[in-house]
Amino acid sequence: MEAVAEALRPVGARRAPFPHAGLIWTLVRTDFKARYHGTLGGFVWALLKPVCMFVVLMGVFSFLFASKPEYKLNLIVGLFLWDFFGEGTKSGLMSLHARGFLLSKARVPSWILVVTAISNAIITLGVFSLVIVAFLLVTGHPPTGEALFAFAMYCAALTAMVMGFSLAASVLFLRYRDLNQVWEVVLQAGFFLAPIIYPLEILPERFHFYLYLWPPTPIIEFSRSVLVRGVMPTTTGHVYLALDAISCLVAGIFIFWRLSPRAAEYL
């Protein structure tokens, strides 16, 4: 009768400092469990996809770019960041629909359902980041503290972009039920638009600006610059990146704020 006793507490008499902490933790934990069957083996299985992709692409393209000694490192950085972008946006897009069983039955802060849906992608990115650093150490490119800090900031910017997209797309998906298919096509094209399997330099410089408009491109290029080449991008580049991430997040929050109050009516 714990909860009944708790119920006798006057409303508003005692509020927890983080009222949604339990809900956020439970959503992250249950999402991990549902996705990976609650085992480390299931999580390792999820890591196999980008690792296999890396092995295959490296096997094929390292011959094509044999003159680029850092190709292997560039490929692993690009692939892992792309995997986070792809998985995060796909999970975020479907989040409200997938958790509609909660949204239509109780009053729940819907932003939490979206934000926690990309938690698994964030966990995977964390593991990938450790793998990347280990890979750099093994291949004789130990990153400096400054480079690691910059890389963490780039990951944060990419997370903000993914979150902004997810907030907007999750409410739009309830109205347009083929948005996930459209996004799959965009992701497929986007994989080749971002310089993941090829060095950006092989394209004429006049196209670089357009490639940088695709959000993952500056993240991937800047990360490679600090981790692989040891060169810090310009301040202008960083300002551009920050504006890019902030505008994605703000646009996503705005669309979500406008459309989410009626989300339950579209389930």
Partner: protein, 248 residues
């Protein structure tokens, strides 16, 4: 001061002549404009519920009962009017709470209990009691996808009865389970009532409304046709149905 105050709340749904749910359908239909009909589900509904009251809501199918509950629970936004709630509401809508079919009962109870505002420690402490109430101890580690609809509904009632903090909202109360389970539900309901909880009950059953509620509302065509003693409202509802079938 009322615990729940519904002030001239209206809610309508726009029903299109053609449903378009995809980008493709919208693009292909850009030259064929749709007509929309407005379905007025709630029409300037006003009501007040005070602390400790047990209020029944009756009405024929489509009279707006479930929509009113969803507006009170904060799931739907009203088009016009205002809803003020001064208490935490625990709902069981449409015979259940939401479940993730890929999770077992324990994880689902943790998930739904968190949504209903319980802390993880409270849920863990109450877990055995919840499973015992639903008579599902043996199936605690079975995924919900393998549960029957009755088992899921029993688990939903067990969680909600444990999670209730101030106001309990029950849509079609005690419509699930066998006689034993219904008796346990009724017993828990009386217990909550004696502890001073506010309860809103939607039902088509005049016996339930007149037995378990102090007061009741009769909804008809999205408006409140009657607000009074539960037995009187139940009688009026029965005569409304009788009149309808007689004239039909």
């Amino acid at each position: 001061m009322p615990l729940i105050e519904v002030d001239k709340v209206s809610k309508a749904f726009r029903i299109p002549s053609v449903h378009r749910q995809t980008i493709r359908e919208h693009l292909l239909g850009v030259l064929e404009p749709r007509r929309f009909q407005s379905l007025q589900v709630l029409d300037e509904v006003s009501m007040e519920i005070r602390r400790g009251e047990t209020v029944g809501i009756m009405g024929r199918n489509g009279s707006g009962k479930s929509t009113l509950l969803k507006v009170i629970c904060g799931i739907f936004l009203p088009d016009q009017g205002r809803v003020s709630t001064r208490a935490a509401i625990t709902p069981i809508l449409e015979l259940g709470v939401g479940w993730n079919p890929d999770l077992d009962a324990v994880d689902n109870v943790l998930l739904v209990g968190s949504v209903m505002g319980l802390s993880i420690q409270q849920i863990r402490r109450s877990m055995d009691e919840i499973l015992a109430f639903a008579e599902l101890e043996r199936f605690a580690n079975l995924k919900l996808m393998h549960y029957s609809s009755g088992m899921s509904a029993r688990l939903g009632y067990a969680v909600a009865f444990q999670a209730v903090r101030e106001v309990l909202v029950l849509d079609e109360i005690f419509a699930v389970g066998d006689v034993g389970f219904r008796e346990r539900c009724e017993e828990r309901y009386r217990q909550l009532k004696s502890l001073g909880h506010t309860v809103i009950v939607v039902s088509h059953d005049p016996r339930i409304i007149s037995t378990f509620c102090d007061r009741a509302l009769l909804l008809d065509g999205g408006s409140i046709a009657m607000d009074g003693a539960s037995a009187d409202v139940a009688d009026r509802y029965v005569s409304m149905l009788t009149h309808q079938s007689g004239s039909g």
